[in-house]
Amino acid sequence: MLQLEGVGKTYPNNVHALDGISLKVSPGEIVAIVGGSGCGKSTMLRAISGLDVASQGRVVLDGVAVMAPHEKIGIVFQEPRLLPWLSVAGNIGFGLDHLARAERNARVAEALKRVGLADKASVWPRELSGGQAQRVAIARALVPRPEVLLLDEPFSALDAFTRADLQEHLLDLWADSRPTLILVTHDVEEAVVLADRVFVMQPRPGRLFEEIVTGLPRPRDRQSSRFDNVKKQVLAALDRSMARPVQAPEDRAPEGAALWW
């Protein structure tokens, strides 16, 4: 169980990027965070990952506060961030240094097959396409079998076709071991395809603005009207979050919103 207890972050330059984020995510759940640019999504993810430490509140995983990068938490960044001096197999095995060589090789080979890059094992990262590189990055994060996988706009640099492909692929991988997924995205469709719950964030300071439970059966049909409805719901919430950036969710007046429209 992953818990955020009033997490806030003020950067040294006094940017109040995140304020009072409280959130409980149960094991195996997929949560998406959407919000405008600069509203604090990456900041929140980095606080969960332990790469940055929250200035207020705390992140708790299985009853223990996360103060630094944690072995049960994996992260995938917007860019693949592969190590250029390691082969694809070397990159995937990067987090398995503690294992015996045979075990490590077996896990890497398994992962390579799983992400469909078995023929690329000994290739340098520079020889991969963007989508292939991102698949390697996902494999690298999943191979140590984390309980929580954080993804910060992992597909935003890819074309729409590859993106849809990798979304399905991510779901396949998730089904193997069912880690908790927390996914930051700009893409509402991506959020609705993947997530059980979608959180819309509002900026300055970053707060959770609205929670939308998708409640769609898997596998999800992107063409269905129910899918479309959820998408519209998220889009509407996004619009509201940006039109009323200063107000907190509690003192948001429904009439005001109606007047605005």
Partner: protein, 281 residues
Amino acid sequence: MSFVSMSAAIDTTAADPVKRRSALPRYVTPLIGLIIPVTVAVLCELAVRWGWSNGRLVPPPSVIYATFAELASTGELQRHALATVARVAFGFSLGVVAGTILGALTGYSVTLFRLLDPTFQALRAIPSIAWVPLFILWLGIFEASKITLIAVGVFFPVYLGVMGAVMSVDRKIVEVGRAFRLSGFQMVRRILLPAVLPSYVIALRSGLGLGWMFVVAAEFMGASEGLGFLLVDGQQLGKPAQIVAAIVAFAVIGKITDWLIVGLSAPFLRWEDRFGRGAER
């Protein structure tokens, strides 16, 4: 003509000029660089043969070659070359070790950078040759002062190169290391070292270049053997061919040692993804 065969036709015509352009230079490119030196050598030789010049001050290639062969057959050349190589090897090793350690420390730690770098920059501003009298006073006129001078010359490019490389390691890649909870030592071994290796090789090469420069200065200080001694000796005895032979020896050995660095590091740098790759092969 169907669309497919048409696009295939376009493909072959498009590929053809590319192929033709690269087929010719493959054999010719390395030779282009030889045109000027060979022309100059031939002109020089002809000028002496045809009596335009007596070749006393500008010895023709044949005389240089004869001098070279004579020095080599008596074992003189090898003795002098070995002495010089040994000095460079010692001085270079010392300079590289010091430059690497201090460069890595100042690149890694802001505190050490603030503490040490101003001193090194101030020292770097002194032309290294200016140390010679002091080194002789401190260390005597024999090997110690020579090797120290070479080490000082090698130190600065290595120090600057390593410091700059460590400072400019991509923060995003370091973060990958942090996300996988690497210890300080593992971070150095698995992330920082490989990341700085390409710049390190360049730093070593410029350090080595300066090492060869300073060994000549050191041997001018007074030496009874070494290629630098051959230079001084050739000047004092009026033997320009010996001077040029020594210069050629410097060029050859310098180039070989540079190749050694490049060649030994190449297997570790095959991953590099950069603009200059094509030109070097």
